[in-house]
Symmetry: C2
Subunit: 395 residues, 2 copies
Amino acid sequence: MTKESIIQPITNAIRSVIGNEETLIALHEPSFQGNEWAYVKECLDTGWVSSVGKYVDQFEEMLAEITGVKKAVAVVNGTASLHMCLKLAGVREQDEVLIPALTFIATANAVSYTGAIPHFVDIEEKTLGLDPVNLADYLSDLATVHNGECFNKHTGRRIKAVVPMHTFGHPVDLDRLQEVCEKYSLALIEDAAESLGSYYKGRHTGNWGIASAISFNGNKITTTGGGGAILTNDEELGKLAKHLTTTAKLPHKWEFRHDQIAYNYRMPNLNAALGCAQLEQLPLFLEKKRRLAEAYRNAFSVVSGVSFVSEPEDTVSNYWLNTILLQDEYASARDAILEETNVNGIMTRPAWTLMHKLPMFTECPRMDLSTAESIERRLINIPSSPHLTHQDMTS
Amino acid sequence: MTKESIIQPITNAIRSVIGNEETLIALHEPSFQGNEWAYVKECLDTGWVSSVGKYVDQFEEMLAEITGVKKAVAVVNGTASLHMCLKLAGVREQDEVLIPALTFIATANAVSYTGAIPHFVDIEEKTLGLDPVNLADYLSDLATVHNGECFNKHTGRRIKAVVPMHTFGHPVDLDRLQEVCEKYSLALIEDAAESLGSYYKGRHTGNWGIASAISFNGNKITTTGGGGAILTNDEELGKLAKHLTTTAKLPHKWEFRHDQIAYNYRMPNLNAALGCAQLEQLPLFLEKKRRLAEAYRNAFSVVSGVSFVSEPEDTVSNYWLNTILLQDEYASARDAILEETNVNGIMTRPAWTLMHKLPMFTECPRMDLSTAESIERRLINIPSSPHLTHQDMTS
């Protein structure tokens, strides 16, 4: 087989699942079939579109119930949420924060906003997320713990936190990662931007960290237009999250007094209204996406040279973005596959450029990133909208 | 006359303008009588609610036309806009930035986000905004210019920029302020958060600075739920503003590559749709608000001990928040007036607590702030929603 011989079978496998529609098939489109209109119209009819209104509270309560956390705080987007999670965990200027090399830019940017330095770690193929075993090995050489704080022996800087990202909805190995965090006194912050509806050992992602970030961008499983949320099981941190994201204004009937430098990160009521209607449909979206993933798995099981990424052991994934991995000998066909599919109306995309390859992060500390680099060469995301699911797909 | 004798005449003057409705009269409520629902519904029907969609472009074009600038960039809120304006003007860590002591917290917070230090300056009573004559005097002692950069002789730090805020919609004296900026090599950034529809010598506020910030919060003259915009006449800065607010992602059909640490500040299409419908009605809102202000001016012209704040000479104000100032001898009745009006269903509020009195800014450099302190003791904002205007109000 030549490298090119894999292109058509992959395109055919995708087409066998999503059909032969002439229109462009997006990577992930939202679906507004529920109460979106009703709730959004109510905001306009009542004039409550902005910083006050019942939908923000309702959205936060629904989200806390779905994820099982004590407090959810709605914010403008996932990036803002990550920024606040790092602040809540006590990340300060000149700290180092361990993050996977394979992630969306928001993870690294949010670390930078706090004045801390991203420190890139490798991933494992079975989860596409941070590899806790590899990280433990790395820290055994690199790190030292003094008085309950972890330090990088080479740079002398404090390593304050680790931020795993649940890639495309697939949970990382949280049990093993928690062991590493305990051993090295690291704060665990989950970048659960992509994993609403994903569980590790029966407990929702975002429910494991000191604080966790969710995204409700337009391409996510549920959307608020733009939006995000902070999750935490620490009630004091929950209150602080609300305070920090609403300009740290002290409650008063008319006085404007603020007690610290803080942020205007609150989600408008209009967007929360959309979010409430979307969360109502989350179980339906999850079911449809699971059936779509199953159909892809079946279709790709008979294509050689490529594998479909399934949820890791002990987890339930939301299958946010369906993903295929080329075998190494076909990696050089990746761009031709991207070209062929996109030209023919099937949106596909590669992995994000690894963080350590971006000009602003090339000088940041990092470990050997062989697995991330291998995955980057071989990964392709394929169309994943819930509405692509047909009735006859097996569940 | 006792201090208390002023309370009832003020309440009566407000009631004579807004009527005797039993329901709570808000300080400023939005009005959605135009195409809001049509445009928002189109977003839901087409699925374009988030980072892509025609309304963001349309909103930016409408805003550029209204304000006469070359480029407007829509963002999540006014605070984000201010943050970006400071970055665009080259404000760096450990710079000082001159801002009025009387402003909303966003101005000072945005300076802090860049790592710079707010330096508080006094205001003048006729504009409620930064006093350029006073500032010039102050800088003649404090500042020195070397190689086109201004330095604070006491702290040794660079003074990079000045950020006037057009308080409640009333423009500051921009001609004189520009003279000060030229003499001391200061970048002029306008905090025009409150002044959409306000003009200084026939040119729109926000059109004078290197970059300027607008807010579309729910309480503003037009709203996007939550939102803001950056205005600039420098096309290169306009491009940079778009790049910096959209994660600095380089254009590519599928690759995710970013060339600097940047922000996720884009306005969602859903919010921009609301904004387009609101901007269509801006002339109507301005007309109604002008008539409301005129009615207040007439009503307060016969109340002794208090004056209504009118637009400064050479300006047209949007009269965003109508404002009265107590004479000094009645200042101690301010809280009783706030109490009486709020208890009786008329929302009123005092000035924001002056910035230098907030715990996080008490150590920041500042000049004598006598006028700001005097205004703070005497200022009350009164209900200003456009829908409070009646047909029989003189125009």
